[in-house]
Point group: C2
Chain length 322, copies 2
């Protein structure tokens, strides 16, 4: 395999000149540049990524920390991020953290030692201090960690209010909320939206704990329907829990949407796979992924951001469950 | 941040000696080793992963090529692989190939330049020549590429026969098969199993093209049910297509399992999320991931494999769709 020395020798220039051409920095005369490029092509020389990263303290890789790829929200996000960065010549190091702080800190340490160029993170557990002491640019996705950390997320609060308003418009008056896990940013915002919208109409609230998981939500729905006669609507904190609620209703012989209307949040593919198809507040997952990539790339390239926080709106998608 | 020179200086030894201790190779006297370790701890020295990989031509990373993370089969596989390798101190570079050969070849080139220590691949498009010319160990998962490439997969052929046998046992006689995409290894094996089992019972066969996708399968099911009166069973080539078949039946007002019985293949989480819950041939996805990690690690460490091909059996899981 050709080395940088072979290229320099064939082009009749120094190794340092070849390096300047490769890294596109420092002055190189146009004729010289051409000679070097010809030599590179002739020898089919491939600069070694590892050697380059040692020299430049960059590895053309992005570390991406997510809670759990088996949560159906994340595969679409990961694809969107990957396809953005592949176009830009970066590879993705993927880590599932289960949102355990200790594990997250270990991952950050690995990333530092591998010179990742930037970090994307979805986390509720990590703090801004732990991110700011890194010398690596960071963009948070989906969950706001701190005002000082650039973030791409959606407006969960107003999305939740809109979800509840749809149920009200459809005639529901006793609307329960199956909430996501405590201290998870998205779950807390959606809960707030539910409570404020119900209070604005002077209606009673029914909040039940869920964990963004299907089975627990199914059991919770059975409990909430048996404990409260007359529940005619459920706003589930995410689509996965809404699917659990639909399963519970089906087991109890309750007809959807006639006797009970259900709306979810997220817009994952599962929402369309089930019967009845789920009405939901759809997140622009591809946009979230792409925009977070754009922000991170700007930070890596040392460009200023126009805005630290980009917020999208969830879109109401009406299907058969309401 | 402490460097290897600081460690050497504090321990009163040469940089080469520190390097021998770090890499655990070459002779170092036990007293000297202790001094070096104390100096490392005292200075909180962290060997730089990039410098180490340049020196050792290893990066403690694994490249993992899958067709598409948004196909619900892969998130569970990726987690299983990641959790195995994280324990062993490796990171995962994830790539979605869409099974486009050109893209796969580009990914392999990137992996070489990054000194990945090993490659895991799920692919129908890549050939053994393209893998064998690499100087990196490779293990194929889910799909057999060639006898010479170590592979972890399941017995799709006999799994398919067992799926059809269940429908026969439940009284079905006109069983249709919605097949997976042409030239995809798993799809061809499952088709063969269906055809052989039906022929063994002297029963007619009905094969319709699917693409491992939900929507196409839904349309295909509508077509097959309208073209063939008396279809009483459907063996779908994967769970995602089985869910599409269930949706079609529901739209046509056909009762499952009374009028039509449906069985899938894979055992993804979606199979349990829908109503009626799907009977399926469940793959041991976690075992597939873990075992392929074990084989690859052995190859990386230069150990011999007891067997080149590990084959698991799919397990029949009966639910409400049959």
């Amino acid at each position: 395999m050709a080395t940088i020395r072979d290229v320099a020798s064939l082009a009749g220039v120094s190794v340092a000149t070849v390096s300047r051409v490769l890294n596109n920095n420092g002055y190189v005369h146009e004729d010289t540049r051409k000679k070097v490029v010809q030599a590179i092509n002739k020898l089919d020389y491939k600069p070694n990524a590892v050697a380059r990263s040692l020299y430049k303290k960059t590895s053309k890789s992005i570390g991406f920390i997510i809670p759990d790829i088996t949560n159906p929200f994340f595969p679409q996000l990961v694809r969107a991020v990957e396809s953005f960065f592949v176009e830009e010549g970066y590879t993705i190091l993927l880590f599932n953290s289960d949102e355990e702080l200790e594990h997250e800190l270990k991952i950050l340490e690995i990333m530092e030692s591998k010179y990742v160029d930037g970090i994307l993170i979805v986390s509720n557990t990590i703090g801004k201090d732990q991110l700011e002491r890194l010398s690596i640019p960071v963009v948070a996705i989906d969950r706001v960690i701190d005002e000082t950390i650039p973030t791409v997320s959606i407006d969960n609060y107003h999305g939740a209010r809109e979800a509840v308003r749809l149920l009200l418009k459809k005639g529901c008056r006793n609307i329960a909320h199956i909430r996501g896990p405590e201290n998870v940013y998205t779950a807390e915002e959606r809960l707030k939206g539910y409570l404020d919208e119900m209070k604005a109409h002077g209606l009673p609230t029914y909040v039940y704990a869920g964990n963004y998981e299907l089975k627990i939500s199914m059991l919770t729905t059975m409990k909430l329907l048996s404990e409260n006669a007359g529940i005619d609507g459920i706003f589930a904190g995410n689509d996965v829990m809404a699917v659990g609620a639909i399963k519970a209703a089906s087991k109890l012989g309750i007809t959807i949407p006639k006797e009970l209307k259900i709306i979810g949040f997220d817009g994952i593919e599962l929402a369309e796979a089930i019967t009845p198809e789920l009405t939901t507040m759809e997140q622009p997952i591809l946009k979230l992924g792409r925009k977070s990539g754009e922000l991170l790339l700007k930070l890596i390239q040392g460009e200023p951001l126009n805005t630290q926080h980009v917020t999208y709106h969830a879109k109401l998608v009406e299907r058969n469950s309401t």
